[in-house]
């Protein structure tokens, strides 16, 4: 990929030529060697699995107050914060360390998946629905305030991963079901690292295609010695981070040592629209576009659920509609933020772009194509929100761990230091604003590149509608992040 694009395919090829000058994490001493070790993924997964087990146990049997329980502290403060910071600094390393897959791999030694994932479900619609469902339930049931519920969510995740991948071959759960995975996939489009081939020419001469087929036993090709990509990403034609779990199966399978974790310009993959192996063409993938839109507007909704105006709005809606149950009122707000608002804003921006570009694509394709330009601004909001909780509460794990150990009857960690929290809000807020601005600039860059390709002479005419949508989202994000947090497990009073 390059900033000056001629055609998507040539862009893609040119980027491969520039390979020699790029940073490759797998070439870094120690780190690279560790990641190249066959069991490196397991090494990363084991501690996360151990922490997950602790969270489940403490969530179910430990204190019922969220700030005192490992399940809630680790899930809603540390996990989310670390996840988003790793995504912005490196890439999709959470999927690499995913504990669900460790359990699944162990189970697959006992049970063999027999079926292929149903063809009508080979898209993101199901996972987008689950993502919305999680955002909705998070607010409705106040997951963040309940260690017990949090523990069951983690446990359910293990069961779901085992169930899906126990029945269906390959990485069906990761690719088509897992909402966290989809979040990571779309967010990692703005990450600075990507699993890529080092030299395209080497792949051109490769006869075995182990990166996708897996390494086979020479005498018996039916026996797989090293798995290839389970998410159907053929490395020589892979573009970007979408659907890549950083599992490094391809790295281990490649007989030519021709795959690295390479540096790149964050979000640049959103500015090109080539055929992507295992993914297709972004501008033709309505489901991926829906994921991008839900990711972006969901960032606002998730933060909106934690500030005072949402309670006032719920109470007002409840009074106007004579509804006293929270679910329908919350559903209305979700509908407005995740459906109506994108429909109006993106619809208007698409219509203008469609007109000024001489209707060269259909209106829906225009919308689909440009919707990915909003991913960086949405990412900025997730980053600001989650890093706020993480930075202001990073030390809370210390007293909670001390307390959990003390509850088990061991005193070696001492008495809990409850006043330990994290950075003061006044220091974190400027960082948040920086993240929001960074996301906004990223969206402007993507929208400009797309507009330039569509309207070479006057890109500004196609760019302005999307810059305006980005600006509105930035203003909304800044407004939300400057409001004091107001967290209530029950939104509607009375």
């Amino acid at each position: 990929m390059t900033l000056v694009t001629s055609s998507p395919r040539s862009t893609y090829d040119e980027s491969k030529v520039r390979e020699a000058s790029r940073f490759d994490l797998l070439r870094v001493p120690m780190v690279g060697r560790l990641l190249l070790w066959k069991h490196s993924r397991t090494l990363l997964q084991l501690p996360v699995l151990l922490v997950s087990v602790l969270m489940i146990a403490h969530g179910i049997f430990g204190p019922s107050i969220a700030p005192k329980n490992l399940a809630t502290v680790l899930s809603w403060v540390h996990f989310r914060g670390v996840l988003i910071l790793i995504l912005v600094c490196a890439g999709n390393f959470f999927c690499m360390a995913c504990p669900f897959m460790l359990v699944r791999n162990a189970a697959r030694r006992l049970f063999r998946a027999r079926w292929n994932w149903p063809r009508p479900l080979r898209n993101k619609w199901l996972s987008v629905g689950l993502f919305v469902g999680i955002l909705f339930c998070y607010e409705l049931f106040g997951w963040w305030s309940s260690p017990w519920l949090t523990a069951w969510i983690v446990l359910s995740y293990f069961i779901a991963a085992l169930g899906v991948d126990g029945l269906f071959k390959h990485a069906s759960f990761c690719k088509f079901v897992c909402p966290i995975g989809q979040f990571n996939f779309i967010a990692s489009t703005v990450s600075p690292l990507e699993v890529q081939v080092r030299e395209q020419q080497v792949c051109g001469t490769c006869m075995t295609k182990d990166c996708i087929r897996g390494t086979r036993e020479p005498d018996n090709p039916l026996v797989v010695l090293q798995r290839g990509c389970e998410l159907a990403l053929f490395l020589p034609a892979k573009v970007g981070n979408m659907d890549c779990t950083f599992c490094l199966d391809c790295v281990h399978a490649c007989p030519h040592d021709n795959i690295g974790i390479m540096s790149r310009i964050p979000a640049e993959e959103l500015t090109v629209d080539p055929v992507r192996s295992g993914v297709g063409v972004f501008s033709r993938r309505k489901d991926l576009s829906a994921l991008a839109v839900i990711f972006t507007f969901g960032a606002l909704m998730n933060a909106f659920g934690m500030v005072s105006p949402v309670y006032a709005l719920e109470n007002w809606l409840g009074a106007v509609l004579h509804v006293h149950r929270e679910a329908p009122v919350l559903a209305l707000i979700f509908g407005a933020v995740l459906l109506l608002e994108p429909l109006v804003l993106l619809g208007a921006a698409s219509w203008i772009t469609w007109r000024v570009t001489g209707r060269k694509r259909s209106l829906l394709t225009t919308l689909t194509r440009y919707s990915f330009a909003l991913v960086p601004v949405g990412f900025g909001m997730w980053l600001a929100h989650y890093s706020f909780h993480f930075l202001t509460g990073v030390l809370t794990i210390v007293p909670v761990a001390q307390s959990a150990v003390a509850d088990l009857g061991f005193r070696f960690l001492g008495s809990p230091h409850w006043p330990w929290t994290g950075m003061p809000v006044r220091f974190v807020q400027p960082i948040e604003m920086g993240f929001l601005l960074l996301g906004f600039v990223g969206s402007l860059m993507v929208a400009w590149r797309l507009a330039e390709e569509d309207l070479a002479g006057h890109p500004v005419r196609a760019f302005l509608p999307w810059a305006s949508v980005g600006l509105l989202l930035l203003i909304a994000s800044v407004w939300l992040m400057t409001l004091p947090m107001d967290m209530r497990a029950t939104l509607m009073s009375g």
């Binding site: 151990l50 087990v53 602790l54 489940i56 146990a57 403490h58 179910i60 049997f61 430990g62 204190p63 019922s64 107050i65 969220a66 700030p67 005192k68 329980n69 809630t72 502290v73 809603w76 403060v77 106040g142 963040w144 305030s145 934690m306 005072s308 909780h389 993480f390 202001t392 509460g393 809370t396 509850d407 088990l408 009857g409 409850w418 006043p419 330990w420 929290t421 994290g422 004091p484 947090m485 107001d486 967290m487 209530r488 497990a489 029950t490 009073s493």
Partner: protein, 122 residues
């Protein structure tokens, strides 16, 4: 591993929970509605037979309903026999959980949890 941990934690937590410790507590918090900032928690403590619980050490820990926030601590003082007051600086709007730690003269420690919902912004 999960089973072992759960068993350990279950037994550990069972030691703390005292379903009927004979303590009767009436609590009020003012001002109403409760707003961010200083509030006064008033506790009327009595034994099972209704006798006021005098000279007890009472401490209050206030936690937000969301993880990652600093708790607020306060010691309550006895204003009239069996009635204790604690000043609490609730630093954020939202739902709070108050943990009462009562140390009666006769020894031991009794715990209670009180929910303070809908603390409003200033």
């Amino acid at each position: 591993m999960l089973v072992v941990l759960c068993t350990l934690m279950d037994s550990a937590c069972s030691r703390q929970v005292r379903a009927d410790d004979g303590l009767r507590i009436e609590s009020t918090i003012s001002p109403k509605p409760v707003r961010m900032g200083w509030s006064t928690l008033t506790l009327v403590l009595a034994q099972r037979d209704g006798t006021p619980l005098r000279d007890a050490g009472v401490s209050v820990e206030a936690d937000m309903s969301h993880a990652g926030m600093a708790p607020v601590f306060s010691d309550a003082s006895e204003s009239v026999p069996g009635t204790y007051q604690a000043a609490l600086n609730l630093t954020m709007p939202g739902d709070w959980v108050l943990l009462l730690h009562v140390h009666p003269r006769y020894g031991g420690m009794l715990e209670r949890q009180i929910e303070v919902k809908d603390v409003r912004a200033k």
